[in-house]
């Protein structure tokens, strides 16, 4: 297996083809237009369908049609476009259709800026669309993971018959790093009991719907979905720990912020501050349990995010009052320097947690 130097967005696009994605539907938006461009070049020659839709609303509903017919389908966009897709995502979850949705997060709200951000955390993990649903949210922190999470995301989508969101950001999407593509064979999955491929005489008709007009049936469906979400919480929590063995303090950060925290750890440790990092790889389901366990031996935990404080609420839930939870955020599409994070850490230790 040879490694290549690729942009995050392009590594993701290549991985989609290698993962056996049958159809991609997308609409241009910075900072992820390379995905559509790459696939428009590469997919037709490799026997796949790629279409530029008239809007993100059309894209997500084309994904719905393709996924409902049993095909491996995906779309990608960035924050404003993902907002437009929320209705469709809710329908996909309600109708139990597997697919991969990629959000290369930019800073907002509104049109915002094209620079990287993590302001879509709440929208991603708490259910951005209407109704009771959840989806697995994967947060790559490298170009390698931009590729790896595509394979994982498609497989998890099929496992749960639920959309999976890959939540990246403008920096991970745009930066170039070394990437290796794994050997992968698309699993053969029997979708004949639900996919709309045309009804033979030998079976009942299949129909895809999220409509359950009788409240008792709706509740039954809700409970069925909730059982899947519970299984996700039990089986799919993924995280990475760095320097936690001897740590007194802990950064919690995902994606780009986690990458910056790696350098901040180095700087802090050079100053004698024993700090580690917990990097959630799945933002839903969230690694509550491990964070709660780590809190037993820590003095303080600090959530580092490219927003005004969103994941920190889950950090508080996880820590559950055991130790103080602090926050460092950088807004506007700007990236914090490792030095600024360490400075904030030192200030907090000095003024609030010194003992």
């Amino acid at each position: 297996m040879s490694s290549k130097l690729m942009k995050g967005n392009e590594a993701l696009a290549e991985a989609a083809i290698l993962a056996g994605c049958d159809a991609y539907f997308g609409y241009p938006i910075t900072p992820q237009s390379e995905v559509l461009e790459y696939l428009a070049r590469e997919m037709p020659g490799r026997g796949r369908l790629v279409m530029q839709a008239e809007s993100e609303i059309a894209s997500i509903n084309m994904v719905y049609g393709a996924a409902g017919a049993g095909f491996r389908a995906m779309t990608s966009s960035s924050s404003p476009g993902i907002s437009l897709m929320q209705e469709g995502i809710s329908y996909l979850a309600g109708a139990e259709l597997p697919c991969l949705i990629v959000n290369v997060n930019r800073a907002g709200p509104g049109l915002g800026t094209i620079q990287p951000g993590q302001g879509d955390y709440f929208q991603s993990v708490k259910g951005g669309g209407h109704g009771d649903y959840k989806m697995i949210v994967l947060a790559p922190a490298s170009v390698q993971e931009m590729a790896d999470h595509v394979f994982l995301g498609f497989d998890l989508a099929d496992k749960y018959r639920n959309p999976v969101l890959l939540l990246s950001d403008g920096a991970i999407g745009q930066m170039m790093e070394k990437v290796e593509f794994k050997e992968y064979t698309k699993p053969a999955i029997d979708k004949s009991d639900w996919a709309t491929t045309g009804k033979p005489k030998t079976r009942e008709r299949n129909y895809i719907t999220s409509l359950f007009i009788q409240p008792e049936r709706m509740e039954e469906h809700n409970l069925k979905l909730e059982a899947k979400f519970q299984q996700m919480r039990e089986e799919e929590v993924r995280w990475e720990e760095m320097n936690t063995e001897d740590a007194e303090y802990l950064f919690v950060a995902y994606g780009l912020a986690a990458r910056i925290c790696q350098k901040a750890i180095e700087l802090a440790r050079n100053k004698g501050i024993r700090i580690g990092l917990l990097r959630p790889i799945t933002l839903y389901p969230y690694p509550y349990k491990i964070l709660n366990q780590l809190a037993d031996k820590l003095k303080m935990v600090m959530s580092v995010e490219l927003n005004s404080g969103q994941m920190v609420e889950d950090v508080r839930l996880a820590v559950n009052g055991k130790i103080p939870v602090e926050f460092f955020g950088k807004l506007g599409g700007l990236m914090p320097t490792p030095e600024s994070i360490v400075q904030h850490l030192e200030n907090i230790i000095q003024y609030r947690h010194a003992n």
Partner: protein, 264 residues
């Protein structure tokens, strides 16, 4: 109280088949359940016509329908084919996803005027402009039926609705949108026709139009739209017979029946 004697004796099923000619039968492609549609509504008839064509062409195994949001949202309860229920207005995008991956299947959307001409006009126009090889069955009854009678983009000038209680004011809301005439201009539109189902001849013509449209889909030449001027007794506050007259006297003035674009 004994009431059995009040119920007339039911003799159905006791005839000897060889003594009669079967002149009418519900298509086997229609599920044998009671429909939720109001008495006199056009939807049940249009459902039957679509399913008759599917049965007669022998394409049940190769047909996938897309249901709208609106009164026909439960179409999959009645049509015995594989179906997908789309988000409001997005049927043509959903159908695009299905048809592009299974180009040899017959794919149709079934949409009302709120779904297609208001919230979904963008998806509709772009699907037709791409020449998606799908059939759009567009039932235009000039009113939002499911939500109980609000003004639609196709509501006639001066026509009462719950949200135009003084009648549609065209100075305020514009004229009713004529979707078929609009989309017929697009090169991607292959066959566009407007029909009705308010009398026996109209029903026959609608069925012929649906037959044409399903056959044309085999040619991969573009989108077919069969618009059907329907009625809505409940929300028009008319009897079914009054509805039929209203279609003849008023609806057809704004939405003239006949072929709008036919293949050369």
């Amino acid at each position: 109280m004994q009431t059995d004697h009040l119920i007339p004796e039911i003799t159905t099923g006791q005839y000897r088949e060889e003594e009669y000619d079967l002149v009418y039968k519900k298509p086997s492609t229609l599920v044998d359940v009671a429909m939720h549609y109001c008495p006199g509504c056009a939807h049940s008839l249009v459902h039957k016509l679509v399913m008759e064509v599917v049965e007669e062409m022998g394409i049940q195994e190769k047909t996938i329908g897309v249901a709208p949001v609106g009164c026909a949202v439960f179409a999959y309860d009645y049509m015995d084919i594989d179906m997908q229920e789309a988000a409001h207005g997005r049927a043509c995008a959903v159908a695009t996803g299905i048809k592009r991956l299974m180009p040899d299947k017959y794919v149709f959307t079934y949409q009302g005027d709120g779904d297609l001409a208001a919230i979904g006009i963008g998806e509709t126009i772009h699907a037709i402009n791409r020449g998606e090889n799908i059939l759009i069955v567009f039932v235009n009854n000039a009113v939002y039926g499911m939500t109980s009678g609000q003004m639609a983009p196709t509501t006639l000038p001066g026509m009462w609705s719950t949200t135009s209680p003084a009648g549609r004011d065209t100075a305020f809301y514009g004229e009713p949108i004529k979707v078929s005439e609009l989309i017929a201009q697009l090169p991607g539109a292959y066959y566009v026709t407007r029909q009705a189902v308010n009398n026996a001849n109209a029903v026959r013509r609608t069925k012929k139009a649906l037959q044409n449209a399903f056959k044309y889909q085999e040619l991969h030449k573009g989108t077919c739209m069969v618009e059907i001027v329907g009625n809505c007794p409940s929300n028009w506050k008319m009897t079914p017979l009054e509805c039929s007259s209203f279609i003849d006297d008023h609806m057809e003035k704004v939405f003239p029946l006949g072929d709008i674009k036919v293949p050369k």
